[in-house]
Symmetry: C2
Subunit: 619 residues, 2 copies
């Protein structure tokens, strides 16, 4: 075994944070014992990017790793292969997770609900590649661009993982000049190298469900329909009014800043500071403006008088009477838009869901008009990260986590009370983004993005608290085909296969034991564990008489069919179908299950931990 | 503007193959004019990997690029921004594409069909991250590992994009030791840096639809169910027998190689050579064995007598009588498995779809038992890439392409007659893969993966040839809400909004014009373009009388409702619903559309170009 010290030692040390001890037969990787204090940032600074040692050069092997250095969240595997010791970090990458069982099913139902609203409004599906040429994404996300995942240069094009679905949509519009208007929806994963909080749905890989309307239309009409879609989605998810659509307008904000005397070059940075008002008190935001961003204190104080205001039509009317403000062209245009929008929202029946919130600014650079963010009480404010009791909580939260949640990364913030679920949907108007790709194809757009992982987290937490989670099965099988017999019983495998074949051919979801001679109790247990509602039971005598038994599982004592009913083999399919239809007249077919989701979730209170604090990095 | 020559000039030259001229304000990139003859492979060889120049160092700018050097497939954009010239390559990365309109809808329907079969067999959904820790993928794919996409090291874990869905499933099983058996399905994109042929569905980013059964069961029972699933999927897609399930067994192959005298260390390389028999004549494969892989010519000739055989039960019986072969333990075990499998396939009614093909070897390392590949005549064999007429065809194909298909990459192989669609599904048994992650969790598995992009390409080509593509709409809107009026007509915008609100609340898919005062012909045109079946028409007089008109579009002259019917506003919803139900008793609701897909595709002949040649890199 070659034990030369790797040429890229600093590199190895940096990698050791992620790996503990890795030696693979086909592609040897090794790491020096990981340093206790070094954080990736620090190491990045001392890392020399010109040393790009290929992995197969790093074949120094360390057989022992201290228990401290080994990430607690990982299953570290040592398998003794005949020739060589093989060790893996058996985990998903930081900030990502697997979805399975009832979680996957619940999330799928959320997707289906959202997609059905999108289609109801004429949305057309668009699917784009998960990575884009890097220059497509460059210059679109402001400060957040540092969170973009890059693909390695392997001798072709330079690409990055998509950061959202909006920029790829704009790129698509620019590439398809025949399309001048479109309602498109896109449900797909996006990628951000942010600090994760897995249990709160703050992930590095997460789903967005986007609906956007592109095209030149009369003002605020598509904007109003997008907000109607927002309301329909949350109503159909059963949130029943327990959400708020915060709206504001970039032109109003810009007008306010101009009127207050913010220099032109400081408008975007000051806007970013204002956007933090859902996470910090005004005093902290003012401090950032004055101390970090060099704004005159008097100007900051003027800004306060505007941005702390919230309301609805009343606030709009008040602002329209503010002659200083309406003398500013940008503010006036924004206020006129807002007046029209509120009229249309009234016609669409969603005005009562709206909060006109002048502190809403949105981080992304590309918005140009109305902006919105949808929050629930789970998204929400209130814990001051500077308060000493919070620091104590954060610490104890960390300790508790390392004991309890072995599946979380060391620096996951799921148990940090200053981190909230954040907004569950957000969006706005972006009239210049398509033009950034193709100036002659200046197509104005407006849209919204739903953060499904967050919606899922809030929904699931509530379902668990209400113990209704067990109502969601992880598979949808309707019939378990079993066999039983006495002495000389051969298991009837091919007969079970034949019955399954007939059920499948009739579109009925069915399964059977893969054992040649399964025991009857084991078959019943398997059916019950998967909550399969019906058993079809084969026996030698019954088959000889051309009969088979159908038994509904879980019937109460005394039910006339408690012991099952014998039916002719020839009428098995219609008999099973009739019973399924009767049973499922509630919620069990695919489409009915989806329709029933709202009903099921209806009882779910979407209030979440009041200890949670909002942050909007996820959307 | 800094015009220093980039320090990594060779690197730039290499990048120039992908880019022509790229200068971004926020992240400047430039390239030297691309070399005409250099191919990436050649450049890779002279590229010094220790020079890893960051992009912002490559800021030399070329303002003119010769028309030859500019990739024909790209829209090259020059926007004159006030300060700086901005140029983009407006395209998706090589080997990837956008999906929209009726293509996206047709593909979605294929997904739905496949997923419904998976659920019918008790499949549970699993979703894993698009990237994995690199060491999870290492050592799993043999020679193909070079096709894995790596993420850039940005100071965290070292990750790669998933290459298939099988290894992530095995990783998940190893991480979830409580799960000892499972039927899981997974429909998601995978990534391979292969040479693309976009129009034939050979992509770098493509979907796989996987179904796998994990667990220790009686032999060949789950294997048989997987093949039953294969048959159900293609039957429901309407392929109606126009496909072949080629099967073989790794143990039979290994036994054959042993019996013929292949040294142990040459078994996998020789197996790889045999796997090319669907693309090359035996003479070429023999040459590879003898000249490239150093096999004794006499041994190769013995191999020929076995691997050129195809058949069904007859072939199995013949082999079972071959005493040299059955004396080999591996071959005997494989043949016994195969005999049992055929019995079960008979019970499942799929034996007639099977071809026992001794030349099938499959490229991936991890298979240990039965292996299979599903081909159609579009996958298929026959053009010898060495024949001179083929070389002419390839050349003329390239020329033709550059004129016609402006959306293809320069080196896309869509029009190369020696490239076929390849197999449309493939899989097999892999009993040791989970154990590679966790030796104590040795869970045997068997599964199959459907290549949806290829299935889509074959289906679409046929639909287009039969001009049935227009039957597939790109949105599913059922009602277009319009208004008309004479002098003083105000457009009835809010009234249209109100009607839409009512339709949406009733779950009806509806849209309206975003113009304040749209013209009636324009509204009809929009409805017709989107093939919306019904119009709801508002007029001042009718509204005053509490009435509204419903008009079915596209009715023939003389139909009693040709001019539409006036209904009470209060009964609009039930009146619309009744008409929709009548209209859709055919195929128009979501679930019915899916169910009707098979019917629609039934008439589709899946034979594809006989000029196509198979290759199995995609699955």
């Amino acid at each position: 075994m070659n034990s030369a010290v790797p040429s890229g030692l600093l590199l190895s040390a940096r990698r050791a944070i992620a790996y503990s001890s890795i030696v693979l037969p086909s592609c040897r990787l090794a790491a020096v014992p990981s340093a206790r204090i070094l954080c990736p940032k620090t190491l990045n600074e001392i890392y020399d990017p010109t040393i790009n040692t290929p992995h197969h050069d790093l074949n120094r092997k360390y057989s022992s790793v201290s228990s401290y250095d080994r990430p607690r969240s990982h299953i570290l595997v040592d398998t003794m292969a005949p020739k060589e010791k093989v060790s893996f970090n058996l985990k998903t990458p930081k900030g990502t997770k697997d979805w399975s069982g009832s979680d996957a099913l619940l999330r799928d139902r959320i997707f289906t609900t959202i997609a059905s609203v999108f289609k109801r409004h004429g949305g057309m599906a668009l699917d784009t590649p998960v990575f884009e040429l890097r220059e497509i994404l460059a210059g679109k996300y402001g400060e957040d661009s540092k969170l973009i995942y890059d693909l390695q240069d392997q001798g072709g094009e330079i690409c990055s993982l998509r950061y959202d679905l909006t920029v790829p949509f704009a790129r698509w519009l620019a590439m398809n000049p025949d399309v001048r208007s479109m309602k498109r929806y896109h449900i797909a994963k996006v990628y951000r190298r942010d600090q994760p909080a897995v249990n709160k749905g703050r992930m590095r890989e997460f789903y967005q469900c986007d609906f956007d309307i592109a095209g030149t239309f009369d003002p605020m009409v598509p904007d109003a329909e997008v907000l109607r879609i927002v309301a329909e989605v949350f109503e159909e998810l059963g949130w029943d009014g327990r959400y708020t659509i915060k709206i504001n307008h970039r032109k109003i904000l810009d007008g306010v800043f101009e009127v207050c005397g913010v220099p032109q070059d400081k408008i975007r940075p000051i806007s970013s500071a204002v956007d933090k008002l859902d996470k910090m008190p005004w005093a902290d935001v003012r401090k950032e403006m004055v101390e970090d961003k060099g704004l005159d204190g008097a100007v900051a104080d003027k800004i306060e008088t505007y941005v702390m205001q919230k309301g609805a039509r009343d606030l709009l009317e008040k602002l329209l009477k503010d002659e200083t403000l309406t003398a500013n062209a940008s503010a006036k245009a924004g206020l006129d838009d807002m007046a029209l929008l509120m009229e249309y929202l009234d016609a669409f029946g969603v005005l009562d869901k709206i909060s006109f919130d002048m502190s809403l600014a949105r981080g992304l650079d590309y918005y140009t008009g109305v902006i919105y963010e949808i929050v629930t009480e789970g998204s929400a404010p209130a814990v001051d990260s500077n308060a000493t009791e919070v620091k104590t909580l954060q610490k104890s939260g960390k300790k508790e986590k390392s004991k309890k949640s072995t599946n979380l990364d060391e620096d996951d913030r799921s148990n940090d009370p200053t981190v909230g679920v954040g907004s569950v949907a957000a969006g706005g108007r972006y009239d210049n983004l398509v033009g950034m790709f193709l100036s002659k194809a200046q197509i104005p757009c407006v849209g919204v993005s739903f953060g499904v992982d967050r919606i899922f987290s809030i929904t699931k937490a509530r379902l668990e608290r209400e113990k209704s989670a067990d109502a969601l099965r992880s598979s949808e099988v309707d019939v378990y085909v079993m066999a039983f017999g006495g002495k000389g019983f051969n298991g009837l495998l091919k007969e079970r296969m034949d019955i399954c074949k007939k059920l499948w051919s009739a579109g009925i979801k069915a399964e059977f034991s893969y054992k040649i001679k399964p025991k009857l109790p084991a078959q019943f247990k398997a059916a019950e564990q998967a909550s399969v509602p019906f058993a079809v039971i084969l026996g030698d005598d019954e088959l000889a008489a051309g009969k088979v038994k159908i038994k509904e599982l879980g019937l109460e004592e005394g039910h006339p069919e408690k012991e099952g009913v014998l039916v002719d083999l020839t009428s098995l399919i219609p008999e099973v179908k009739a019973r399924l239809a009767r049973k499922n007249s509630g919620t069990s077919t695919d489409s009915e299950a989806v329709a029933g989701l709202a009903q099921k979730l209806e009882g779910v209170d979407v209030k979440a931990d009041t200890t949670a604090k909002t942050a909007d990095a996820g959307i």
